[in-house]
């Protein structure tokens, strides 16, 4: 059951992150993760880590897809603006911002859920 809920949480996070990344501002990821964190009632650290590892590759892949579908030099130019960061570093940074935002949201949701959970 625990394993299943973790898998389901992971999948839900991937979907939630994907949809919100394409249609909503960056911060929406935090309430989405919080709701999922509350709903799945995982331990806070488990929710945080799972949110991070699920959203990180989603954001990385979306950024990668934007870059490679366009072939534009813009990402290189942006990298130059940020002290000469390479494109891969920009992907990583983007993914990290998404991942951390999701993790913090999921932790908040999870801790909120645990406020009302009765100890066995």
């Amino acid at each position: 059951m625990k394993f299943n809920s973790k898998v389901l949480f992971f999948i839900a996070m991937v979907l939630g992150a994907g949809v919100s990344a394409l249609f909503a501002p960056w911060w929406v990821l935090m309430p989405v993760s919080a709701i999922l964190g509350w709903f799945f009632k995982l331990k806070w650290w488990s929710a945080g880590i799972l949110a991070l590892v699920s959203v990180f590759p989603v954001w990385y892949l979306i950024a990668w897809a934007y870059q490679y579908s366009s072939g534009s030099e813009l990402a290189v130019m942006i990298g130059d603006m940020f002290m000469g960061l390479g494109i891969n570093q920009l992907f990583m940074l983007t993914a990290l911002i998404g991942g951390i935002s999701a993790a913090l949201g999921a932790i908040a949701g999870s801790t909120f859920g645990h406020l009302f959970k009765t100890a066995r």
Partner: protein
């Protein structure tokens, strides 16, 4: 247990808000604002969206202008607009300008209005204050009042604004050009006022420079030698309007307005330590037209390459507009309706800057430190105070009190004494009896010489040399602009603002402006040299005249009678230096007499030089350095004196003239040594300095292109968004006048054949102003190599070639 959980929850919520705050905040580093990391890296609203969009054509919503007409884009994304009337065409023009260049239009007009601090913070405060003191926005408001008196034209400008605004309204904030996201602001709706502002900012670039203060300082320093060192005429002079042209009026007709000789009058203000940044001198634009009799094909040909500070996005934007009444192709300014430089089936025209001094300075004598009154004609006049409120990002608003006098705003205060200031008197403070935009509108549909003359008379400033050809075979060139009527010498130096007799005496009627029509020599040309010879009845002084390019251009044009459009295109890229041709033999002759200079490799290579500033050649580097050292040494009295920076130095041309004709000039003696040097000594010392500089191992493989290291920065100087270390031919004072950040902003050659115009053009940039887009800088490589694109001039909306274009 509950408390522990409660604390955990609160802490995690705190972390969320803290993270949100950190990510959403635009942090300031070294005075500059960084984009807020969260939104900037956000996949929906951040730069990745721009990365994605840059790979595609800009979003076009055809429904938004389908009732206005059709839009076709060719492979370079040049719009070809087909509409039933001009109003509809201008609506679409506004739409496509915004589609490709929204940020550029928005930012450049905010800059002209003095509102950059709102975006970048206190860093731009001085810049904004300067713009406001110059009164660009005031002048734009004045223009709007004039434009409203011409309802037909005004409705066209409104249609253009509606087109821009249509595009802005269709944009989702996530689709804003990336510069908005970096700088953290949003587009503002367009209005005719902003079009007027754009015109004022161009006026500032083209006629907002003068040397009055630097020349006043030079006059004080050099005393009686001044006239020798800063002559108003010289032996190279080959004016825009050929000598012996008959003028439309005589000096008798203006005797009362332009009496006698003004000359030099010391206002008593002393040395003015005001260092102004006015860009490099010696650079500028070219245009010429050859008559049918001088072309191999028997068709008139016109060429134009206006030279400006180069930026990305480029200042120009190509476009064709087709309505039942006109069919015009050329370059436009994003921000202004119509085509600025271009051609239609019947005529072609091109412009260079006229360069008249239309900005004079008046010494203001304050009554006391409150500066509420100033002296004028023996009476104390009240100062008008205008308070400007500057919104500053991240700070409280700043108020700047501008003191306005009879002459204009006081822009400079004497740091040593509260009693004196300098007021700026500039042509843009005058209203116009015409709507300047009508000039472009009428030129766009002109059919013959008379249409050209009627159209251009509506253009007051910046004064332009407007070259023209017609299918009927006319060639012409008019120096068009509001020319202040001055007495000889008036406005060359700072004037005394305590006497109203020092004012301009109105403006010359436009019909009297210098012009030439079908001159005997079979060509017209201009390259920012003096407009006329000394026979012109009105005095006008040197705002920004240069003679080398004009002289060499006329020499080339005179040399043949079988010019082809290809030859004339090559001429635009020509980098032959008349300065080197005149100076180098003198310098080499001196070194030949010195035993230690014989057989030096650099000298041997210079002896074989063809005087072309080619990017691959080393000789231009050697000559340029050598001459620069020499020039500094000749004028060491001022160039090596750090306390005298705001002072004019005699030009290269005058220096060479003196080298040739004045063997014993006292200025050859170096002030820093006890012995007495002569010209040969200076040439030798300059050579040694150059050789030491070039002797460095790292510099041995230098060539001119690498040495000059040109760049095309982004308009807002965003790192990575421009191009640097470009290797290119040319320099100032040659036809291909390309210095580090300044150069040919548009090259165009048009031949009017029986089958319609055949035209070529190119500019350093691309149509699409979105950084990273396919056409952001797509033309730069070809432009550097002197190549052109054939311009696709569709004959009408039914031209079969239209089928190959992308239609909307």
């Amino acid at each position: 247990m509950f408390m522990k959980k409660y604390f955990g929850f609160c802490f995690s919520v705190f972390l969320c808000f803290f993270w949100g705050f950190i990510m959403n905040h635009s942090w300031k580093v070294e005075g500059k604002y960084l984009p807020a990391i969260g939104p900037f890296f956000g996949l929906y609203e951040g730069f990745w969206k721009n990365v994605y969009m840059a790979g595609k054509m800009p979003t076009v919503s055809a429904e938004s202008f389908s009732t206005h007409g059709k839009l076709y884009l060719d492979v370079r994304e040049v719009p070809h607009i087909v509409a039933d009337d001009l109003k509809r065409a201008y609506f679409i023009q506004g739409y496509v300008h915004a589609m490709h260049r929204l940020w550029q239009m928005d930012f450049s007009t905010r800059a002209a209005e003095g509102r950059v601090s709102e975006i970048v913070g206190p860093l731009a405060l001085d810049f904004d204050k300067n713009k406001r003191r110059k009164g660009l926005a005031e002048s734009a408001r004045l223009s709007i009042e004039t434009w409203k008196k011409f309802p037909e034209t005004f409705s066209l400008v409104e249609a253009y604004s509606d087109g821009v605004n249509q595009y802005i309204r269709e944009l989702d904030p996530s689709e804003y050009p990336v510069e908005y996201k970096i700088m953290g602001f949003s587009p503002e709706l367009w209005s005719p006022f902003r079009s007027a502002l754009f015109h004022k900012s161009m006026s500032e670039v083209l006629c907002g420079r003068d040397k009055d203060i630097e020349l006043t300082n030079a006059r004080l320093f050099f005393g009686k030698d001044f006239d020798l060192l800063f002559p108003e005429e010289n032996d190279l002079m080959d004016p825009v309007i050929p000598a012996q042209t008959e003028w439309a009026f005589s000096s008798d007709s203006i005797r009362d307005l332009s009496p006698g000789n003004f000359g030099w009058k010391d206002t008593g203000i002393g040395y003015i330590p005001w260092q102004r940044e006015q860009g490099e001198s010696g650079l500028g634009s070219n245009n010429w037209a050859v008559a049918a009799s001088k072309s191999a094909s028997g068709n008139p040909i016109l060429c134009n390459d206006p030279h400006l500070t180069l930026t990305l996005p480029s200042i120009w934007y190509e476009q064709q507009i087709m309505t039942p009444d006109l069919n015009v192709y050329g370059v436009t300014f994003p921000g202004i309706p119509g085509v600025i430089i271009g051609f239609n089936e019947s005529v072609a025209w091109g412009v260079t800057n006229g360069g008249w001094d239309v900005m004079d300075w008046y010494k203001i004598q304050w009554r006391d430190s409150s500066q509420t009154e100033y002296l004028l004609d023996g009476k104390w006049e009240k100062t008008e105070f205008r308070i400007e409120t500057l919104q500053v990002r991240g700070c409280e608003p700043v108020f700047d009190t501008i003191r306005v006098t009879h002459w204009g705003p006081v822009v400079y205060d004497d740091p040593m004494h509260y009693k004196y200031g300098l007021a700026m008197h500039w042509v843009i403070r005058y209203g116009s009896q015409f709507c300047e935009l009508d000039m472009f509108r009428e030129m766009n549909s002109a059919k013959n010489f008379q249409d050209y003359r009627n159209a251009i008379r509506k253009f007051p400033y910046p004064a332009q040399n407007i070259a023209f050809i017609s299918r009927e075979g006319d060639i012409a060139l008019t120096v068009q602009g509001a020319m202040p009527i001055k007495s000889k010498g008036q406005g060359r130096f700072v004037l005394d603002g305590a006497e109203s007799k020092n004012a301009w005496n109105g403006f010359l009627p436009y019909e009297w402006n210098p012009f030439t029509h079908n001159p005997e020599r079979g060509f017209v040309s201009s390259a920012n040299q003096k407009s006329t010879d000394s026979s012109f009845p009105v005095y006008y002084n040197d705002g920004d005249f240069r003679e080398y390019r004009g002289a060499i251009l006329n020499r080339f044009l005179q040399s043949r009678n079988d010019w082809t459009i290809q030859d004339l295109r090559d001429l635009q890229f020509n980098s032959y230096s008349l300065k080197a041709e005149t100076a180098l033999p003198l310098m080499l002759a001196c070194t030949d007499t010195l035993s230690d200079k014989k057989n030096r490799p650099f000298l041997n290579s210079l002896r074989e030089w063809n005087f072309h500033y080619d990017s691959a050649a080393i000789q231009p580097v050697v000559f340029d350095l050598w001459f620069d050292y020499l020039h500094k040494l000749v004028w060491d009295e001022i160039t090596l004196d750090t306390t005298r920076k705001a002072i004019s130095v005699p030009s290269d041309q005058t220096t060479i003239h003196l080298m040739k004709n004045s063997a014993n000039l006292t200025y050859y003696d170096l002030v820093s040594t006890s012995q007495k040097e002569n010209l040969a000594d200076l040439i030798s010392i300059a050579y040694d300095s150059m050789e030491i500089f070039l002797g460095n191992d790292e510099l041995k493989n230098l060539n001119w292109g690498r040495y000059k290291s040109a760049s095309i920065p982004h308009l807002a100087k965003i790192p990575g968004f421009g191009l640097s270390n470009l290797s290119s031919s040319g320099t100032k004072d040659v036809l291909n006048a390309h210095a580090r950040t300044f150069g040919p902003s548009w090259r165009m050659a048009v031949e009017l054949t029986e089958d319609g115009p055949v035209a070529y053009g190119i500019y350093p940039g691309g149509q699409d102003g979105r950084p990273g887009a396919k056409n952001y800088k797509s033309m730069i490589t070809s432009w550097r190599e002197g190549k052109y694109y054939e311009l696709l001039y569709l004959k009408n909306g039914n031209d079969p070639r239209i089928q190959q274009l992308k239609s909307f």
